[in-house]
């Protein structure tokens, strides 16, 4: 029980740290966590934070900053988020998905994605 609360606060801190960084480096308000974007739109991964193990796991399957993904679905009540990358569907737990920060892909980039 305790550990759950602790981890939640830890996550909040993490997010804050991230936001402060983002203001310095990328002054873009469009960057959001994967859990709070709409389904079905191409998204570009900007940053992945969180435990090293999670980052490595995502890396091993090709989800790294710069990757374009589509959020396929989110389940009710903090359930997993399903994303699609090049036709592969991957289910990611809610907390892990919160740590994936994405931005909307501009039209120009969308065309590039289609061409690849």
């Amino acid at each position: 029980m305790f550990s759950a609360i602790k981890s939640r606060t830890k996550r909040r801190i993490n997010k804050k740290v991230y936001h402060s960084v983002s203001k310095n480096v990328m002054p873009d308000d469009n960057i959001t966590g994967l859990t709070s974007v709409k389904n079905g739109i191409p998204l570009k991964v900007v940053e992945i934070s969180g435990p090293e193990k999670s980052v490595n796991r995502l890396n091993s399957i090709g989800i790294i900053p710069g990757t374009v993904i589509i959020k396929k679905s989110s389940s009710a009540m903090r359930g997993p988020v399903v994303i699609e990358k090049n036709g592969i569907k991957i289910a990611i737990g809610y907390h892990m998905a919160q740590m994936i920060f994405v931005e909307h892909v501009t039209n120009n980039e969308t065309d590039q994605v289609k061409n690849i």
Binding site: K72, A76, P80, G87, A91, G93
Partner: protein
């Protein structure tokens, strides 16, 4: 002799390829983590001896779970690597390929699912890929059994790649390779892809899971019951039983006759090896077993199980687990042994302990389930339902409690969702045959040993001794007759038989509920006990078993108390 290791990303068809090459049976299915153990098969080809080894899949050379450790160890011990690559998914798969190349071992890249590339509009230039990777690249289709010969032929051409893989920026390098060798054509969604998208929406997911669940239950009940009442029971009563009795009655020794056929004619009450033993295993349990694995095999190969895991992730999170633990639990509905084995896909000890406890409690194995249904239906559907609801409730509460005592938090849910595939009938039949044979290999010796031990214990008055000791506590705590003592011993050997043994006791509905819940929970059967100790070590196994035993005793005592109080209040439950 060369050790040839098949490795690749999860769910790229390694096990099927293994069974195609070695022509042996290995269970394969359409989800990540079907294979958790290693299998070896040796063969010779053109005067060379090869030992082919199949192991769990990997996304990278990094260790996340126990099955990853097994796979990594295999790679380190190999003389030659067959890297199985999902051709419809080149980019993701090449990550592992490039990491394997860095290992400097002779290697072949095998592009599996070649048949899928055509209708997915993917064109891969294998010659160009071969040049870029500097190892032989062979296209095969394990599902359709094509290209297997070419692959075996290429074993002698395997070589260590001389390509230098730049450190870091691996994905950029992969991107370059993919854009050179692969061309994609635009194409329309197939029906299965539409279906996949629909089942991914929250509403569609819930509806499809409920439909599948109800359909499964209906099918199992329908097929199970029609096989029993239409085929097996008439066969047993009209042909088998008279035949056996006729033969056995010629044996002059009463003792031998009693062991073989028991002393009453009712196949549920006599407990002879060849009467009750055969009746329970073949007539009452086998039809449900067959029906369950027909449906389960289909769902496995179709690729539906991970979707259920996604939907259940929420509930599992409340127990400190994540949705992928649902797969071992679902396997446990059939038999505990494969369920315990599949806990290897989980990442840490805490998850393993929790899931193991959950498997033991929430899911009675199929033989038990079918006996609870067979015997319970005479008390009414509500009794059967009550038993299952109690079991699920106990499992949930106990897991939540154990979790609150264990340090650490659940790791995140993370799995690839396989695309739906129409299962191949041939492969399904093959898999079903393997499971049925396993069932018989396990059941027959157990019946013989079980009945023999019971008889010996009986003769030595051990049973009456134990019965004398536990009589009072069992009566006071659970309200069950003392005759249940030998059944509890028997339950360690054969769990389904233990519930069947409740039949001659003429229990009330309340006693039947308590008895079934207790006999389902209290200890694992001998086969699952050995698997459990091998998987979790003696210490963890004993902890889990102790906790589960306490939980089962507590819940049964509580149920007994509840029934008494309800009785005094004038409520007649069941």
């Amino acid at each position: 002799m060369k050790r040839v290791v098949i490795t690749g990303n999860p769910n790229t068809g390694k096990s099927l390829l293994f069974s195609r090459i070695t022509r042996t049976g290995v269970i394969s299915a359409n989800y990540s983590g079907t294979t958790v153990e290693t299998k070896t098969g040796c063969f010779s080809y053109r005067d060379s001896e090869y030992c082919l080894i199949d192991g769990p899949g990997l996304y990278s050379l990094e260790e996340f779970s126990e099955s990853d450790r097994t796979a990594l160890a295999l790679i380190d011990q190999s003389d030659l690597i067959i890297n199985v690559v999902d051709a419809t998914n080149l980019e993701r798969n090449l990550n592992l390929t490039l990491q394997l190349i860095k290992k400097n071992r002779p290697m072949i890249v095998c592009l599996n699912f070649w048949e899928d590339t055509k209708h997915k509009g993917i064109h891969i230039d294998t010659a160009a890929l071969e040049k870029l990777l500097d190892v032989p690249v062979i296209a095969v289709s394990a599902l359709e059994n094509e290209g297997i010969h070419d692959l075996v032929e290429a074993l002698s051409a395997a070589r260590t790649s001389s390509v230098l893989i730049p450190d870091g920026e691996l994905w950029k390098h992969i991107g370059e390779i993919v854009s050179t060798v692969q061309k994609l054509k635009h194409r329309h969604h197939t029906f299965l892809e539409y279906l996949s998208d629909i089942t991914l929406t929250p509403a569609g997911g819930l509806i499809s899971s409920v439909t599948v669940l109800l359909g499964t239950l209906f099918f199992i009940r329908f097929l199970g019951e029609s096989l029993i009442s239409g085929v097996l029971e008439p066969f047993y009563l009209k042909l088998y039983s008279p035949f056996i009795h006729d033969i056995v009655n010629r044996i002059p020794y009463y003792f031998v006759r009693e062991i073989i056929t028991g002393n009453t004619a009712d196949p549920l009450q006599s407990f002879g090896i060849l009467t009750s033993g055969v009746y329970i295993a073949f007539v009452l349990v086998f039809p449900y077993f067959l029906a369950f694995y027909i449906v389960f095999g289909f769902l496995e190969d179709f690729g539906f199980l991970p979707r259920i895991a996604v939907i259940l992730d929420n509930i599992f999170h409340r127990m400190g687990l994540h949705g992928y633990s649902a797969i071992p639990v679902m396997l446990g509905l059939g038999c505990k042994v494969p369920a315990f084995l599949s806990t290897r896909i989980l990442t840490d000890r805490r998850e393993k302990i929790l899931t193991t406890g959950l498997i033991m409690m929430s899911a009675p194995c199929l033989p038990q389930t079918s006996m609870i249904i067979s015997l319970g239906s005479s008390y009414g559907v509500s009794v059967v339902l009550a038993i299952f609801i109690i079991l699920i409730g106990v499992a949930f509460v106990t897991t939540v409690i154990i979790n609150s005592f264990m340090k650490g938090q659940s790791s995140d849910f993370f799995t690839e969702l396989p695309s739906y595939r129409i299962p191949s009938g041939k492969l399904m039949i093959k898999k079903l045959r393997m499971r049925v044979l396993d069932y018989f290999y396990e059941v027959i010796p157990m019946i013989a040993v079980g009945v023999l031990i019971m008889n010996i214990l009986n003769i030595m008055h051990v049973i009456s001794f134990i019965t004398g000791i536990i009589q009072k506590p069992v009566e006071l705590l659970f309200g069950l007759p003392a005759d249940i003592a030998p059944i509890m011993i028997m339950g360690f050997l054969r769990k389904d038989a233990s519930i069947a043994l409740l039949a001659p006791l003429n229990l009330t509905a309340q006693q039947f509920i308590i008895g079934s819940v207790f006999l389902t929970l209290y200890i694992p059967c001998i086969a699952s006990f050995f698997t459990l100790t091998r998987e979790s070590g003696i210490k963890d196994s004993l902890i889990i078993m102790g906790l589960v035993f306490i939980a089962s005793a507590l819940i049964c005592a509580m149920l007994h108390g509840l029934f008494i109080i309800a009785g005094m209040a004038g409520l007649h439950l069941f």
